[in-house]
């Protein structure tokens, strides 16, 4: 028993040695870029701002960056610049291409470079634009909500180097004034004040992999549109977006999207060097459908 005090002393020493090598770090302001290139559409605007401390008032108007040097470059297969497109500031935090109407090319690589005055670091990000795809057939242009026959869309595939396609499907309600919400969404609005009617004008699926829809021949996508995707009766526009790697990482990890323990939060995967944000690209296809009460 005489050994007990000595053992206890060793234990206490070990405990103290183990305390604590892992402390909470402090907020460090970072720059945030945001831009979404869409195949065969003009080069988009770019939003550039700074992060703010969590417990402070957030205002993009105040945090938007000014006088940044912004260039989007089209790269060739070897990574060399094939064409460079400088941007100019439109308003605080918003930058647009100097030259309008430059179309984004599918299956090509683009690079963003941003230099912010006073910041020693250049912000860089690259994206490969997904291949274009389109709707080949739709079984109906008018459907009854929750009718036995659902909306079925056949579409071509969007190509992407080295992997299957990743898609997001969005429903845009085109007339939220004259048409009602479908029952589930109406219930949400009626029962809580956490939701407003307006926010259901856009409904988006999570990321869905091509393998879910690929027909056996591997050429076409066969999509049966779920009723949960329709929030309003009346005219709706259905948008399918094929995502690049940056969009895929960004959307799947965006706040609240990851599955974890209660209260667990993590940084969004941004694939931006020298800052954070998204420099992503997509290709898209749209159709319109009218949803009537059954």
């Amino acid at each position: 028993m005489r050994a007990v005090p000595a053992i206890l002393m060793v234990v206490v020493a070990l405990m103290l040695a183990g305390c604590t090598d892992y402390l909470q770090d402090d907020f460090v302001q970072e720059y945030v870029v945001e831009s979404y290139l869409i195949a065969e559409q003009p080069l988009p605007r770019i939003r550039i701002s700074a992060t703010s401390p969590f417990n402070e008032f957030y205002s993009f108007d105040q945090l938007g960056v000014e006088e940044a040097s912004v260039v989007v470059s089209l790269l060739d297969a070897n990574g060399a610049v094939e064409a460079a497109y400088p941007y100019v500031q439109q308003q605080r935090g918003i930058f647009v291409p100097e030259e309008e109407g430059i179309a984004v090319l599918p299956l090509r690589r683009y690079r963003l470079e941003v230099q912010i005055p006073g910041s020693p670091q250049t912000i860089r990000a690259t994206t490969i634009v997904p291949g274009t795809f389109g709707v080949i057939s739709v079984n109906a242009d008018t459907i009854g909500f929750r009718a036995p026959e659902q909306l079925e869309i056949k579409a071509s595939r969007s190509e992407y180097p080295g992997r299957q396609g990743y898609y997001i499907f969005t429903t845009l309600a085109l007339d939220t004034t004259n048409y009602d919400l479908t029952p589930f969404y109406a219930g949400l609005v009626e029962r809580t004040d956490a939701f407003t009617r307006r926010e259901f004008s856009i409904r988006t699926s999570g990321i869905l992999n091509e393998s879910n829809f690929l027909e056996p021949d591997g050429q076409l996508l066969d999509i049966r549109f779920p009723w949960i995707g329709i929030a309003f009766y009346g005219p709706n526009e259905l948008v399918a977006n094929a995502l690049d790697d940056n969009m895929f990482d960004f959307v799947r990890s965006l706040s609240g999207n990851g599955a974890g323990s209660p209260g667990q939060i993590e940084n969004t995967i941004t694939n931006v060097e020298g800052g954070r944000g998204i420099f992503g690209s997509m290709s898209e296809s749209r159709i319109r459908v009218y949803v009537r009460r059954q």
Binding site: M1, V4, I7, V11, L14, G18, Y22, L23, Q24, D25, D26, F27, V28, V32, Y36, R47, S49, T51, F54, E56, F57, Y58, F145, R146, Q164, T182, P183, F184, A186, G187, E190, R191, E199, S201, I202, T204, N209, E210, S211, N212, R224, P226, W227, I228, G229, I230, V251, R252, S255, A259, G260, S261, P262, G263, I265, E266, N267, T268, I269, G277
Partner: protein, 743 residues
């Protein structure tokens, strides 16, 4: 070959070259019920020679010279028994001992209190939870074995809402849960709030917190070995309990060739829900859980015993919280085992078990007319065979195999169409051998090797195990253990809700998780009826595989690509002071713990503490017999706040397919902040008495008596600017009442 011959020679030398030795062997039982007692001690009075019963309640004490001996048989919570026996040369005497519980005197048994030479029962890394204590402790609605285990040093809870066991820095899936030797894959009720084990059915609960011997395997961290009762061999007996959430009934008794036991438990809140539905919205249309436990023992002969045990439990919840929103949850477990124990001789004992286990979960969500169904099942059929060979007091050898086949199915249906399907199957075979060498009273060396093969991924792993014990005196021993451990399964779970748990297997490109454990122990009896134990552990973890939490749709991915792979470590110290007898009994346990994980792509690849990491954890459990029929029980718990990730900054995006702006956190180090400390005081009073010829027990308890609103986690609301933080709290003050009558 030479080494093998030397080994055999060493093992048999006492018997071959010594004079004809005698032995005693048999079972140690409860005198009132005939239940076998696990880890009871048999010691020759006045000496240090002794043995302990195994998990079948069987002991063997060999290598004795002819003569007259007084054997002292002891077991915690029971009066010690002294039996004088004369053994002739070479005699192998079958001696079954029967012990009376403390405070119960039985004339027909020779009983004498023997507090001298209190034998230390626990091996390194092992803890026992007396079932009586489980039934006495203040409980949230229902006595629960896992919540009781969470009070032991080294075992922690994630929250008031979870019965999950976080042992020595390991997540719940790193603990093997065995019920009568059968693996239970989701041992929970009410989606994680309680464990599945009905306390009325239990005989013994042992926890191997770490450094466990080669007999066990299949998990990285620990083993919880639960044994149901065999059934009363003396008379028909039973009990009925009415509680606030559930009621239980148990019956047991003898028959011509053995004994039987049957227990049932079911939730009884439907009438309350029906009343609430009249006035409140969002009340479940259906909610219940039940479980059944049964065992039938058949004494085929003096040396052969067969037993069949089964367990079945199900949880159901049907709720329509909103228009066009329907949730139907159903999950449960079924297990069955057929066990045969055979005594070949005084030196050779065998145990063969055929096990079957099935876990199923079929949650259905129907949202806005779009159904989503996930069906997950785990099926596991196995055969275990264990042999114990005890040729003398110096050597004993154990060996065995465990072979089986496991199938895990996961099917997702979205909108009536199969969106994902997987069938993971693996045949496995594990074998082990371990040798225990006791060259003297003071020293014990146990070493062994376990090998495991899983056909899924064609993985073979070898796991060496070693433990050493040195007794400084009868009241003081030092222990050390090392072991390598592998795990071929990973559990995808959410701490808050176990009804969606999914098990995944190793496979092509997914290697088994591995780890090394080092344990140092110090066990002492400083004063009569007191124990003071300390253990330190250090463990590593490698090849941990978890489903990538950011990958929601895994269709089209190669199996290995849906995982993230990492490593980790944990170290800590555990201290326990226990008073095992007296009007005031109980224990004070303290744990210092530190555990970290590392996954590429998270926290810049730097080690971080998982959410359940607690630096300090302290539990005080006290039972005080106020008067003959009144007992006070109290539990106080204190723990360092759990780790959480604090948002440091924020930003905002305008994604083209989301309505309005999307707010986003900016976080720094993962889990680098701490929630406020956790503490809670529970008290209970028990009244014992006689009613209608039976014994009754009325319990009145208050959980969280000073209504400490412990923090579970934070949520953040970006609709406020600046963003606001909301606290999600754990249990408030709660009453609990139960009434049990035993007959």
């Amino acid at each position: 070959m030479r080494l093998f011959l030397l080994f055999v020679l060493l093992l048999t030398s006492t018997e071959v070259f010594g004079q004809a030795r005698s032995s005693i062997y048999g079972y140690v039982r409860d005198a009132r019920t005939g239940e076998t007692l696990i880890m009871a001690n048999i010691i020759i009075a006045g000496t240090t020679t002794g043995a302990a019963t195994n998990t079948s309640g069987y002991y063997t004490l060999t290598g004795l010279q002819a003569g007259t001996y007084t054997f002292v048989v002891s077991y915690l919570g029971y009066e010690s028994a002294r039996v004088e026996v004369t053994l002739g040369p070479g005699e192998n005497r079958r001696l079954d001992f029967r012990l009376s519980p403390d405070g119960v005197s039985l004339d027909e048994v020779v009983v004498q209190a023997d507090r001298d030479g209190e034998e230390l029962r626990t091996a390194v890394g092992v803890a026992q939870m007396p079932v009586r204590l489980v039934q006495q402790l203040p409980a949230v609605f229902e006595a629960d074995v896992f919540r009781s285990l969470q009070l032991l040093p080294g075992i922690q809870a994630a929250s008031d809402f979870s019965s999950g066991l976080y042992i020595r820095g390991g997540s719940p899936d790193q603990t093997m849960i065995l019920l009568d030797g059968t693996t239970v894959y989701n041992p929970t009720h009410v989606f994680g709030f309680f464990s599945t084990f009905n306390p009325d059915a239990l005989k013994d609960v042992q926890v191997y917190k770490g450094g466990f011997p080669a007999r066990f395997g299949g998990r990285l961290g620990s083993v919880v070995d639960v044994y149901n009762k065999d059934g009363n061999r003396e008379r028909f007996a039973g009990s009925a309990t009415v509680g606030l959430l559930a009621s239980r009934i148990a019956a047991e008794g003898p028959y011509a060739r053995g004994s039987w036991m049957l227990t049932a438990r079911r939730s009884t809140v439907e009438p309350l829900l029906a009343i609430l539905r009249e006035t409140e919205e969002g009340i479940p249309d259906l909610f219940f859980f039940y479980d059944l436990n049964g065992k039938l023992n058949f004494d085929a002969g003096d040396n052969d015993r067969l037993s069949f045990a089964f367990y079945g439990g199900t949880d159901r919840l049907d709720i329509e919280p909103s228009d066009d929103l329907e949730i139907n949850l159903r999950y449960g477990n079924r297990t069955g085992s057929l066990n045969w124990t055979h005594i070949f001789s005084s030196t050779l004992f065998s145990n063969v078990t055929l096990t079957g286990s099935r876990y199923f979960s079929t949650p259905l969500f129907s949202i806005g007319g779009t159904p989503f169904v996930r069906s997950n099942t785990v099926g596991d059929v196995s055969l275990r065979a264990d042999l114990e060979y005890v040729p003398g007091r110096v050597h004993s050898v154990e060996g065995g195999i465990w072979a089986g086949s496991m199938v895990i199915r996961l099917n997702d249906e979205f909108d009536g169409e199969e969106s994902f399907t997987s069938r993971l199957a693996s045949d496995y075979i594990a074998s082990y051998v371990q040798h225990t060498w006791r060259p003297s009273y003071r020293w014990m060396l146990r070493y062994g090797l376990r090998s495991t093969y899983h056909s899924s991924g064609e993985h073979v792993r070898l796991e060496p195990r070693l433990s050493v014990e040195h007794r400084r005196s009868e009241r003081l021993r030092y222990q050390a253990a090392y072991g390598r451990y592998y795990q071929f399964l990973s559990l995808i779970t959410n701490e808050a809700f176990s009804g969606l748990d999914v098990w995944l297997l190793t496979g092509e490109g997914v290697r088994p998780s591995g780890g090394d454990q080092f344990v140092l122990g110090f066990k002492s009896v400083p004063f009569e009826n007191w124990r003071f134990d300390m253990e330190w552990y250090y463990r590593t973890m490698f090849d941990l595989f978890e489903l990538d939490p950011n990958l929601r749709d895994v269709s089209g991915f190669d199996y290995a690509d849906v995982f993230q792979f990492g490593d980790g470590y944990a170290y800590g110290g555990e201290f326990m002071i226990e008073r095992v007898r007296g009007r005031l009994s109980g224990f004070l346990g303290y744990t210092y713990g530190n555990t970290k994980r590392r996954f590429p792509g998270i926290n810049n690849g730097v080690f971080f503490p998982p959410k359940f990491d607690r630096t300090h954890d302290l539990n005080l459990v006290a039972n005080y017999d106020l008067r003959r029929n009144w007992r006070l029980t109290t539990v106080f718990s204190y723990g360092t706040g759990q780790a959480y990730t604090r948002p440091l900054g924020r930003t905002q995006y305008n994604l083209p397919f989301f309505w309005g702006a999307t707010d986003d956190f900016v976080v720094g180090r993962v889990n680098a902040s701490r929630l406020p400390p956790y503490h809670r005081l529970d008290v209970g009073v028990t009244r014992l008495g006689r009613l209608f010829g039976g014994n009754y027990e009325f319990q009145a308890q208050v959980i969280n008596i000073y209504n400490r609103r412990n923090t579970w986690f934070y949520t953040y609301d970006f609709r406020d600017n600046p963003a606001s933080m909301n606290i999600v709290r754990m249990l408030p003050i709660l009453p609990n009442l139960s009434f049990t009558i035993r007959f």
